[in-house]
Symmetry: C2
Subunit: 355 residues, 2 copies
């Protein structure tokens, strides 16, 4: 398959700002600019506290006796419920396990809250629950508490699952956006776009739909291996809604640094690249559920790559870029032909209900 240049990311489009909107739109759930505006306008002013201000995948907390915990939550509304490589249950468990891992925590316990739509087949619920248990066993976490509610037909969509997680932070490091420093290397743990394109191909009924499997996988083991090796991990971020591009913009803005990546180094499989071209999507913005970036001092990048080659799902980590002092919040991508362009966060309309 020949590879023409990718289409311009829709992250560049300029939606109506939230301040002019009075109703929730699908884009507010996309994980991009509209989601950020909703958080900044509605949630952060109300719930203001230091844990939220850290703007990380979960909260890092300290018990009265000094133990450090990570605590995180994700609502899962993926459509379709079943997709190549997993289902909403796999996603709900791995998504929360991964958010804990991104805090530098060892995941211990999960909760699961189910919102079931009247008429949903109990056999499908059993398949989903079985997948959750398998994923929990692989990630070595227990699903220790839960809740079930039922809503009438037309008030849900089969099943929504909100998982929360608690993990213990055993490293003395503060693994968070605020620890990112100029000079840090940015390592991507594997190739991009499999989860998002597995969902989109299934939805669109594309002929290659079964060929692209979601990359949905737990990331606790590779993170633990990096920490066990004594590497000075500054920040970790899994590349879910909004993809690599949005994640890097969030990190650059939180840490008030500039990030530059080299497009030629970002691995994308031919199948994913082809599906993205057909659907007019940029793989940089497509969601992943088993890929992350690790930011750490450049001198330690080689050791991190060695470790991730052995432990990360996909097994093909790449050094994709570096952090510099400024301009604060700016992410640039050098293209294959050497030109540079600024990367913006996803505007929010690209891939609704991807997770």
């Amino acid at each position: 398959m020949s590879l023409p240049p990718p289409p311009a990311p829709i992250g560049f489009s300029c939606p109506v700002p939230l301040s002019h909107r009075t109703e929730i739109t699908v884009g507010h759930g996309g994980g991009g600019r509209l989601t950020q505006e909703l958080i900044d306008r509605v949630f952060r002013p109300a719930f203001a506290n230091p844990a939220l201000e850290a703007q990380h995948d979960g909260a890092s907390l300290c018990l009265p006796n000094g133990s450090r915990l990570a605590f995180t939550t994700d609502a899962h509304v993926v459509s379709p419920l079943f997709f190549p490589g997993g289902n909403i249950g796999t996603l709900a468990v791995n998504g929360t396990v991964n958010d804990l891992a991104m805090c530098g925590a060892r995941p211990l316990w999960l909760s699961a809250g189910f919102i079931l739509e009247e008429g949903f087949p109990i056999a499908e619920l059993q398949r989903i629950v079985a997948a959750m248990q398998t994923a929990a066993a692989v990630a070595e976490v227990g699903i220790v508490t839960g809740d079930t509610k039922v809503v009438e037909r037309g008030k849900g969509d089969g099943v929504y699952i909100t998982t929360s997680g608690v993990g213990v932070i055993e490293t003395p490091l503060a693994v968070a956006p605020g620890s990112i420093r100029p000079g840090d290397a940015i390592i991507l743990s594997g190739d991009l776009g499999r989860h998002g394109m597995a969902i989109m191909a299934t939805r669109a009924g594309l002929e290659f739909e079964s060929a692209i499997e979601s990359d949905c996988a737990p990331l606790a083991a590779p993170v633990q291996a990096l920490l066990d090796a004594g590497l000075e991990i500054h920040c970790l971020r899994d590349l879910t809604r909004g993809g690599l591009a949005t994640s890097l913009v969030e990190l650059a803005e939180s840490a008030k640094v500039a990030i530059a990546i080299d497009a030629a180094r970002v691995p994308v499989s031919e199948l994913v690249q082809g599906a993205c071209e057909i659907l007019g999507l940029d793989p940089l913005y497509v969601a992943n559920e088993g890929r992350f970036v690790c930011l750490l001092p450049a001198a330690q990048a080689g050791r991190a790559l060695d470790i991730l080659r052995r432990t990360a799902p996909g097994g093909a980590p790449v050094l994709i870029g570096t952090v510099s002092a400024g301009p604060a919040g700016q992410v640039t991508q050098r293209s294959i032909i050497g030109s540079e362009r600024i990367i913006d966060r996803l505007s929010g309309e690209q891939l609704p209900r991807i997770c």
Copy 2:
């Protein structure tokens, strides 16, 4: 208002057992017998672990360093979203705070996962979020992490909120159904049925709808006061879905004991009693969001009543019954005229989407 004898509770009806059902029904979310069958058939076999087997309002867990934590979750789908005495946000915060308190824990942190329906007014979301922050401040907990997803019109119902909570268990007691002993006194913290009837009256458009306010309130302070007094608390249970009757049946079955209560002692306000009669409901089965039972040695009941009179919402605690050795799992109620009847758990159809 004259008070005729209450109607027979619908807990006595005999629904089709889950094993003959292939689809989720609204009754599976009612918190009664069908919910229990769903848990027993689908969730417990898959997720089997000691924390789940305790069948309590939340999980009691032990960190590697020996610290004891409580962890709990609740999905909130109440309809209508706004009701006399609160809204879905108040309910989401207090519900999770109370589940932690029922584990004997001091609530510390909450997470909040929002599932928003496209078209939901942002101004209403702001009212809900403001109510959450107020409730969190009153209960002295932080909302430290969250997530937002959006679903298309007709795939949700305004907003669903799943809250999870983490608290620290500082008491050496095991506050759980397994600690209940024959001879324990059962103290009810206040009058029954306000939350459920506030919702039902609003839904039905009854003329007294604004006169009945939900009892939605945090219960952490009265629980802490009981623990601080050094009382030997065996078990605590808040009386949400399924009401007092279903909670007592769950406790009697878990602890393999018999429970007897005296109907004449169970306080129900005239307004709630009247509304129950109009709608054909038994207050014993109506949901509460700020009431709980405390089971402890009978010799300590007087001190517990004194403490709850000063600290419990409603301020009118009552000794309603006692625990005996058997028959295991049986709950009986002595009526005002002295006859006894067996109380069953809610069958599941009474009050959908009450929380």
